[in-house]
Symmetry: C2
Subunit: 233 residues, 2 copies
DNA sequence: AGGCGATGGATTGCATACGAAATGGGCCTC
DNA sequence: GAGGCCCATTTCGTATGCAATCCATCGCCT
């Protein structure tokens, strides 16, 4: 009865989820080639389904589709990164406005639990990035605003990409304490303050993680570019 | 040298553009079936390309992909519509903030020209909806913020869908005078005022066009829902 | 010896083919 | 005469095959 493979929605969606997860886990890093053949072979599906998944991923901005030249994991520029966080800020503001003073008890519990998990995860760098992102998508989902949820999901995913590219290795990209503080402010219904917190929170990421080490970041970027050109990966 | 068919990017993109345009022009109205075979036959391409285009369109929220049941032009609910305008407001606010006091001369000319065209187009209802939308996408493009541009484009497109579904037939959905006033406020660099204007402008649409005829709209919505459930379409 | 054009392998672009699910109509039964 | 079941048709889901493109390598000509 039950279909054998990974959950619902047809195998095309399964491929999409697999690739997306691989990218967000940094198993596939920005710039990686994504040949239809090898992926299909590895996942046990035909190129057709891989192609469909790649189209979806490109719509989400996670992969770049270069005509006749194959797909690669997206490699956002630093400026695209800054613009992305600007956009994200505008939408997260709406999330906060929508949720302020309106969180129900189970929602609060869920968020609090999640923050606890974040606090407990200090070792694994990649995991803490993922958890930090999930906190924001969790908030978004509670707005029950479909388009808002979709866009926040996309932006959070791409933010991960950007942080893996330009983020400082050992800075706390998303300070967990700021998540807790935000939650408490939302519960108290202090909308204005919550907006400030969220703005500060996201601005911290861009300034703390992205901009301050501008020269270092540029070096890394340039080196990676040349490495790719030389076929080193 | 030059490829024969409709501009660049491969035929899949051509199919995508064709369908998108057809939907926005209301040649294909919400709920219309979109069978892969007939579309492919009509456009002279195979189902493969049509499928790819439909996947893209579903990513943009313009078509709904029902597994094993075919694709239809999206039919947003009234609540989705309201949420969508909320989201759009948050992003248009960012557009206005970014552009206020920073418009260059050629940009101003371009916008002014466009508004003139809008003013001259009072007869054709569908065309005036399209032009009003284009004004907003034009503004967005001037921010040069890639993600912002993409999302505004999507939201404007879906807004058209919603207006064709729930809009009052003869109300001016997007008052042109408000566009002109907004432009002048942006030129003057009065950011706060510009934000107010944009908010009022979009709120006008939701309240003037969507909400006031709530009973009429609800009847239609409810009836359609039941019709669908009964297989009438 | 160095640059330039040809050639072969790999990979994408697109179409077609085949199996599976849903939909609609006809026939049989009650 | 009405209702339900079965089959035919239509449309989707997926795989596969062929032509076109690109990239790298090698050979050739200057």
């Amino acid at each position: 009865m039950t279909k054998k493979a990974g959950s619902a929605g047809g195998r095309a969606h399964a491929v999409h989820r697999a690739l997306k997860r691989a990218i967000l886990d940094q198993a596939l890093t920005p710039g990686s080639k994504l040949p239809e053949d090898s992926i299909g072979e590895r996942l046990g599906v035909s190129r057709t389904l891989v192609r469909e998944a790649l189209v979806r991923l490109s719509s989400e901005g996670l992969v770049e589709l270069r005509p006749n030249k194959g797909a690669v994991v997206a490699r956002p520029t630093l400026e695209e990164g800054r613009n992305l966080f600007l956009t994200r800020m505008a939408l997260e503001r709406l999330v906060v406005e929508t949720l302020s003073g309106k969180l129900a008890e189970p929602q609060i519990a869920r968020l609090s639990d999640h923050i606890a998990t974040e606090e407990a995860t200090t070792k694994d760098h990649a995991a803490s990035i993922r958890l930090a992102g999930e906190f924001h998508t969790l908030l978004a989902q509670m707005t029950e605003n479909e388009s808002l949820i979709r866009y926040i999901n996309e932006l959070v995913a791409r933010s991960s990409l950007i942080l893996t590219l330009y983020g400082r290795p050992h800075s706390s990209e998303c300070a967990v304490s700021e998540h807790r503080e935000l939650l408490e402010t939302l519960m108290a219904g202090k909308t204005g303050r919550a907006i400030e917190l969220m703005a500060h929170h996201l601005e911290s990421i861009t300034t703390r993680a992205l901009l301050p080490s501008e020269d270092r970041v540029n070096i890394q970027d340039v080196l990676l570019t040349y490495a790719m050109a030389e076929g080193l990966g």
